[in-house]
Symmetry: C2
């Protein structure tokens, strides 16, 4: 067993497996934000030698999922309002660009994929109460993410799509927070209607969809920021 929060991320070399497992753990919040990671704990946790671990860590540093200081190990970046705003700002700029490309280049398959993803999202509704519905919420999040991915998937820009994915992953780190306060987050927003309208505009290739997407993401940003503030994260 390699990962503690993911069954078994496929990857040929050990270093890749550890990379995947460590990344999952960071995104899932299994490694508390702001904490320093001791090498020997990680060695124990991922059951490997120093080389694969070090390689995995170095790669995550390159992708900003970890912060490194010479001779002082690595830390999981801590949460902050500024950081959330930073990430969402980038995400909005990039997704808008990608969506603009997608509505130019998208074909029938793309439209089909969007409809399918939208449908799957509506079929896994966000539970009204967030009591012990952790699984349901997580399923919804997964489908929600794949809906957004489908929107921009037709953009012929691998780098752009990769960067967007990276930013989405960054926001993923705040998921625990989002889940804790999903009730408030929904206040004043009809999520389903919002997405359906977005979907319609996109498929109609209406340029207004760019603004709508930007607004949609900005609302999410505001919700997350509000949550951090209320959760009193340093």
């Amino acid at each position: 067993m390699i990962s503690l929060s993911n069954p078994s991320p496929p990857g040929r070399t050990l270093a890749e497996q550890v990379y995947g497992a460590l990344k999952s753990d960071i995104l899932a919040g299994a490694l508390t934000a702001g904490s320093a990671l001791l090498t020997r704990d990680l060695l124990e946790r991922y059951h490997c030698g120093v080389s694969p671990l070090r390689e995995a860590v170095a790669r995550l540093v390159g992708e900003q999922f970890l912060e490194a200081t010479s001779h002082r190990g690595v830390r999981v970046p801590s949460f902050s309002v500024n950081d959330v705003e930073d990430v969402y700002r980038i995400r909005i700029a990039l997704e808008r660009e990608a969506l603009a490309l997608a509505i130019i280049h998208g074909d029938d398959n793309w439209e089909g994929a969007i409809l399918a993803a939208g449908h799957r999202m509506e079929k896994a509704p966000l539970p009204d109460r967030n009591e012990d519905q952790g699984h349901a919420v997580s399923e919804w999040e997964k489908r929600h993410r794949s809906f957004h991915t489908s929107l921009v998937s037709a953009a012929p820009s691998p780098r752009l799509l990769r960067l967007i994915n990276q930013m989405v992953d960054q926001t993923e780190r705040y998921r625990a927070l989002r889940l804790a306060g999903s009730d408030q987050a929904k206040i004043g927003r009809d999520i389903v209607a919002e997405h359906r309208r977005l979907m319609d505009l996109v498929i109609a290739r209406d340029p207004a969809c760019l603004e709508l997407l930007a607004d949609h993401l900005d609302h999410t940003r505001q919700a997350v920021v509000a949550l951090i503030r209320s959760a009193a994260i340093p």
Copy 2:
């Protein structure tokens, strides 16, 4: 001696030094694009053991300056028109966002830095003929880059600025090509006037500067694309 095209990049650990040296060599084109890198050549070249090399490579993979395939080593990504367009697209979206933030948050120091950078750029003019003026061109490029950096430097978004830097580095790889054809690139463009106008609009906090910057970068993109096409790069 660690680096082959850079004197001695400061860095505490060996891995960091190798990282810097390898990155420099990639950006400077010392490692031909598209070529596979043999581990033992790199070991020889950077005069270090496998561990620091491996770590440096892993980090560069995370930043997309190298492509890795399991058990088949790493390659320097090859040049392509699509890639240039991809990178510039991202760069434009991000720099526009950053400049918008900068003209909101910029203070007097920021304005001063822009004026200084603009002045330095004008004092190191691009030579008319690109005969053996390699050094002069490279000095101009350095100052040109620092001018553009100064424009967005006031944006309070570390992630955004880092990403922009990364994209500029990516375009840096095509520098050899740009130099080879700098004559053509200048045709029909008054670079000095273009930059001065940009500078004036930015300092006046005129929102029109966003469009101008985007156009400016787009022209550069077109010039680079034309060069690649004429250089018949696969």
